[in-house]
Amino acid sequence: MKNQQITILDVLYEEPGPKTRRKIFTFTILSSILVTLFVLLIIFRFYVTGQLSARYWRFFAKWTTWAFLLKGLLGTVRVALMAALITFSMGFLFMFGRVRGYKVVKFISSVLIEFTRGVPTLLFIYFFFFGMPLFGIKMSAFWKITIPVAVSASGAVAEVLRGGVNAVHKGQREAALSLGLTENRTFFKIVFPQAFKYVIPSLISELVIVLKDTTFAYVVSFNDLMQNSSVLISNYDALLSVYLVAAVIYILINYFLNKLSVALALKR
């Protein structure tokens, strides 16, 4: 009977005896002091360079500041969600080609998957930024950031979905076929729904990656959170505080997305 909630960390240490308890206590106090000193050092640095002064932080009390940041965040979210949709569709196609296609389709899908996984997102973004005008295609900034971000993640999504499909018990497919369902029906009605359920946590992790990639929107001059932060900065001449707040917003969003992913994985 394996209790999944007990990890190795619970058994690595045994019940400490008195000497060990004293050692742990000493080191706990010592490290608390060290960590606190470290934090104080950082705050002191802020203070000494004048970065703690009110003029760098005062405007955060204004609603307009947050409204503006939120507008930027909305841009970020729009890009992320659209990119997620596109990357999921592309990833699904690649996965399907690799899992169910004939040899040629399988090969092409594998190549596309390896290609999108092996090239940095920034390169794709530059391709769309420089490339679209070259081909005479007019594309809004929104698409110039959304499509490359989506393309870049599609290979990884394909592999995640493929992992899910492989994790579905092959007996499921065999039972469906023996009931008379076609291969396609079996895949779409029986195998893939289960595969999808398995990999929702991993898909959320991919969403975090997509969200992080959206920060390159400034390359194509799209108004996302980072861009709006820049406007605030030039408005109030407060670079450090604004960028710090923007970074914290991203960290928090991704942190909670990851927590969601873990919670969903544990529910299984």
Binding site: P16, G17, P18
Partner: protein, 262 residues
């Protein structure tokens, strides 16, 4: 089943000669407000085979694990060869090396070969010479009937083979006693016999053993004493003949009849 000690009496009386190998005095253990072991005392003398049986949740596994301090106790004393078990450090490790343990899920080291599994502790803990350790390891593998698997990895062996290797791994430390925590509970039925026969051979060779098990027939066969635990208490500590044939405790009778219905 030949036991050569003849200074045993038919009730729980003490050995009037040597210090018991394992002695538990008034052990108590609780998790928050739940008492899993309530004032348990028992002795295991040299060469004895003591079998603990009882329903699930009776605390018998926990009791077994307190003896080498894999579980801690809240009050009472545990003595190995008359010496209190240390709470930590090198002394505790040394004492653990003198009491072997065989686990329900074998717990062989997955990244080492069978031979390496057996040689690890003798070399690293007993500071035995490697060649000597290898020689003894191969002899032990032969004794438990797995000598052909020396270079294989645990995942390549069957459950029964793995458990026999686990027993050999404990024997390699020349222990004073071996604890068995439900050694056959995780095995497929057809492999239980091979493990039980190894344990039986060990008993006949005079090894001091404490076995927690569900196998009634085996218990009857091999035990010098049967201990029945229920709800954290010891309800009986008797020779098998008395325990099985002349059982007066209604609780135990109910348990025995349920078990024999299987």
């Amino acid at each position: 089943m030949s036991k050569t000690e003849d200074n045993k009496t038919s009730n729980i009386s003490e050995q009037n000669t040597a210090v018991p190998v394992i002695e538990l005095k008034n052990i108590e253990k609780h998790f928050d407000s739940l008492y899993v072991i309530k004032n348990v005392s028992l002795k295991v003398n040299k060469g004895e085979v003591v079998v603990i049986i009882g329903p699930s949740g009776s605390g018998k596994s926990t009791l077994c694990r307190t003896i080498n301090r894999l579980e801690t106790i809240d009050s009472g004393e545990i003595l190995i060869d008359g010496e209190r078990i240390p709470e930590e450090g090198k002394d505790l490790a040394r004492l653990r090396s003198e009491v072997g343990m065989v686990f329900q899920s074998f717990n062989l080291f997955a990244h080492m070969t069978i031979l390496e599994n057996i040689m690890l502790a003798p070399v690293d803990v007993l500071k035995m010479n490697k060649a000597q350790a290898k020689k003894e390891a191969l002899e032990l593998l032969k004794r438990v009937g797995v000598e052909n698997q020396a270079e294989k990895y645990p995942a390549q062996l069957s459950g029964g083979q793995q458990q026999r290797v686990a027993i050999a791994r404990s024997l390699a430390m020349h222990p004073k006693a071996i604890l068995f925590d439900e050694p056959t509970s995780a095995l497929d039925p057809e492999m239980i016999g091979e493990v039980l026969s190894v344990i039986r051979e060990l008993a006949e060779s005079g090894m001091t053993m404490l076995i927690v098990t569900h196998e009634m027939g085996f218990a009857k066969d091999v035990a010098d004493r049967i201990i029945f635990m229920d709800d954290g208490n010891i309800l009986a500590d008797e020779k098998p003949e008395i325990f099985f044939a002349e059982q007066k405790n209604p609780r135990i009778q109910a348990f025995l009849s349920k078990v024999s219905k299987k």
